[in-house]
Structure formats: structure tokens, C-alpha cells
Amino acid sequence: MTQSDVKAVPEAAASWGDGAREPVVPRVSEPRSVLVYLSYGWLFAVVAVALLAGVLPLASFAVPVGPPRQAPQLGSLDLLLGTDSQGRSILSRCAYGAQVSLVVGAAAGLVGAAIGTALGMPAGYFGKRADSLVRLVADAMLAFPPLILLLALSSILTPSVRTLLVGLTLLIVPSYIRLARANTLAWAARDFVLAARNMGAGHRRVLTREIMPNFLPTLGAYLPVVMAALIVAEGSLSFLGLGIPPPRPSWGGMIAEGKDSIAESPHMVFVPSFVIFLTVFALNQAGDHLRHRFDRTLRG
């Protein structure tokens, strides 16, 4: 091989090949966009219905509107989704049930996130003793059988939305502790934290202004998933008879009520199940979407 017989450029060098075929790049669309919009739409609708349930032309959730176990039927708004075993409107109960389910999901999720963050963040940041202690607490909470917690709580306190909130919040706190701690560990190792310290920032400032804003979106993206789980968990409690006291409906409670009639009156189970499914699905979509956007922020 001599230098001279090596050609730098093929004979076609005199062009960039403009005449040749341009590569056809697959269109970059947000593939889920329609689904995501539908999901946000559904969530918006559910929240709106929950907020406006009292104003909407719906029958009361506590008063029968017809014979029990009516199948869904057109004609009357109240009977649109059928009636439950007490003859109450399932549509109305779904609407009012949204209040409880959403409040339980959102409040327990948010409060759990707040407590978990408040504990997990210093643990991850300061390490050592604080970390040991917080991890011990989190481990103990995780090792505590959730059933005992909930059963015992509902024996001690009157079953109510508040009791439910306390119990469910306690259940999810350890996950958030772990999440916040792991995130803090990851972010605290970044150079910009050192840079802030080097600017003379104190620990509190570093934690709240530098570290926290960075992992809040992650936590936020996790929230819909947790909310979904909480909505379902509330239903399980209703199944054990520990849900909120009647006549206030919750979606999970409605399913639990109808489960014995699955063969004869399937709508009693499937309507609220479907509502939960749509909401959980929408929450997951929203969560994914949020996380996706957040990730892109990171990737730059």
C-alpha cells in the first residue's frame, strides 16, 4: 500500500450526493399524544365532576331512585348506569365516589410524599446517624404488616375518611422515604451542590433550593401511580369492611358492595371498576407523560 494509490475521495467527490435519495426519517410524533390528552381530559372531567357533584343535576347518593339492581338504561340520567343494591343511582354514586377516591388518593399521596421527603431528604443528605435512624424507621414501617396497621387503626379510630387517610398515608410514607433518600443521594453528589456550598450556602438552603427542586418532579411523576394504588387500596379496605362509613360512596366500596352479585348484576361491579380503571390508566398515562417530560429536562 503506497500513499499514492489510496484515493482520498471516490470519484464522486464532486458532489455531496444531493441528487441521491434523502434518508426518510420516521416522523417523530408524540405517539401517545392522543391518549395522553384523553387521559388528561378524563382526569379533568373526574375532578370537575367530583367538585361539582352537588351542583350537577344528579340524585343524591344516599336516596334510592328506583328499584334495586337496575341494569344501566337510557332515558333517565339517574338510571343511566343502573342502580345499586339499595336502588341508589350508580351514576350519582360514581360522581360522589370520585370525591372520596380522589381525596384519598391525592391527600394520602401528597401528605405521604411530604412526610417521606421531609424524612428521606436529610437522611440522604447528612448520612451517618440521621440516615441510619430514618432507614430504621422506614424499614420498621415496611416490615409492619399493613393489614395490622389498617385493621388496628380502624378499631381505634372511627372509620372515616380521616382514618383512611392516616392509615394509607402511613403505608406509603416508607416508599417515599426511600425515594426521597435515593434521589437526594444522587443529587447531592452533583457538582452544583458543591458549587452552592462553595458560594456559602448553608445546608438548609442547599437542601431546599438546590436539591429538592430537582427531585420533586420525579416524586411528582410517581404520585399518579401511588394515587392509583391508593384508590384501589381504599377499595380493599371497603372489602374488609373498613372503608368509609355509608352512605358516602367510594369507587372501591361500590365494587366491594357489588362483588357478590357479579353473576346477576354485573354492572354493579363493572361500572365502578371501569371508572377506576380509566382513572388509574389516565393517572398512569399522565405520570408517564410527566416523567417523560421531566426526563427530557435532564437529558438536555
Binding site: P31, L136, A140, L142, I156, V225, V232, A256, V280
Partner: protein, 317 residues
Amino acid sequence: MVLPVVRRVGRSLLVVLLVTMGVTLLLSLAPGSVAEVVLGPDATPETVGAMETQLGLDQPLWGQYWDWLTAAAQGDLGNSPVTGQSVSTAIVERLPVTLQLAAMALVLALAVAVLLAVASAVRPGSPVDRLINAVSSVFLSVPAFIAGPVLIYFFALQLGWFPVTGWSPASEGIGANLRGAVLPTVAIALTEIAAFHRLLRTDLIGTLGEDFVGAARAKGVSGTYVMFRHALRPSSFSLITLAGINLGRLIGGTVIVETLFTLPGLGQLLASAITSRDVVTVQGIVVFIAVVYVMVNMLVDLSYGLIDPRVRKAAKA
């Protein structure tokens, strides 16, 4: 080398201690006493009082706890005042059921979730992926108490493949035992499948973007080979962590399924012990669950070393 192990065990004991203390405190706040349950509705306050004295329930709380603790430390979990059974026997009797259920559900969930996650992660955003995600959302939104009846309706009543309720121990024939375990296992596994799938899918997609995956493909080995031999293992950290936590939680947390299918497991024992204020039994089960939980977690930590020779810091969790 010895020190970390000792520290680890010490921590675990502390966790167990905290949990039992929490349980004692919690149950002491609940109204009603086991004596009332034992003596029934027609008992007089005197007989109830006498029985409480006999059971030591009149002592201060910390005294009761201390007595229990010292006995438990020597391996004596006491006898249930309600059933008269020794708590250890009660646990040992129920354990096979719960353990089998939890283990089968976990294995099933992991197997299905891995397959689904692999199918999802190969082409994120593809129709297959979206379909699987939707299915996984369905699973997430279907609680066990609804999955159970639906499964029973179709597979036990309509098709008659499995018994509706009941449990036959493995000692009386594996076939019957498995037949009885299938539906409850599936009912438990559905939610787990969804959770595992979501987690593993994310991690797999991350791993598939790593250079070493590209490098492996550049060697000319097949995509399936790369997926299973290269990508899966390093992607399974969170999965194993979650599986560990969930196994711990399933022991004693399957009460709904146990009730639905009439299975003699720990969950039912626990639930009935709580509602009859049978603190001794509750304590025993809780200790047991907590010990299993910390042990599973230790195993999970050990397994990190197996998965990744770099033995990542447990702190990362």
C-alpha cells in the same frame, strides 16, 4: 468482614423490636379485650376481670411487653387465649399455605412480567408496547377482591377447571394442591405483574440504551441473546428490591385472597387475631413477618452481589 454482618443483624433485630413495640402500642389502644372475646357476650365484668388478671392484661403496658419479649427471646411465643393453641404451632400450621401462595404468585408475576417487559422494551412506544401497558394498567386497577370473584366465575364455575374454594395441602397430592392454588395465585399475581412490568420495562429501556448493549450487538450476536444474557440482569435491581419488599408484604398480606378462597393462611389468622384482640397471636405473627421481611431483604442485598459483581452500595436502594 465480620463487623458489617453483625451490624446488619443488629439493625434487623432493632427493626423487629420496633415493629413489635408498635404493634403492642397500637393494639392496646383498640377497644375491647381478648377476655371479653373468650368469655363471650354473656360474661360478667367480674369474670372478664378475673380472666384479664389471669392473662396479665391488668399489668402496665410496658410490663406486658417486657414479659412477652423475654419469653419470645427464648423462643416461647405463648399460647393464644382464644384458641388455646400455641402461637408457634399456629404459625407453623398456616405457613405452608401462605408461603406457597406468596412464592407462587411472585414467581408467576416475575415470569410474566419479565416476558411482558422484554416485549415492551424491545420497541418502546410500539403498538405491542402500548397494548401491554394498557393491560398492565388494567391489572393495576383490578384489586384482588374483584379479580378473585371474576376468576372464580369463569375458571371455576363456568369452566370448572379449578375448585372454587379450599386448599389441599401438598402432602395430600401435588396435583390437587396446585389445582387449588392456581386461582388464588393468579388473583394475587395480577397486581404484582403490573408493578413489576412497569419497573422492569423502564430499567430495561435504560439498559438497552447503554453502550455495552450496542457493543454486544456489534459482535453479531442475536437480539434475543443480548436481551436475556446482557440486558436483563443489570436491569433487575429495582425489580429484585421490589420483589423482596413485596414477598415480605405478601406473607400476612394476602388476607383478602385467603378469605375469598377459604385458604388457611397467615393472613386469615392475623385478621381474626386482630379482631379478637388476641395480642399474643398478633405479636407472634408480627414477629414472624418482620423476621421474614428483614431476612428477605438481607437476601435481596446479597443478591445484588450476585447480579452485579460490583456489589453496589445497599444505600442506593
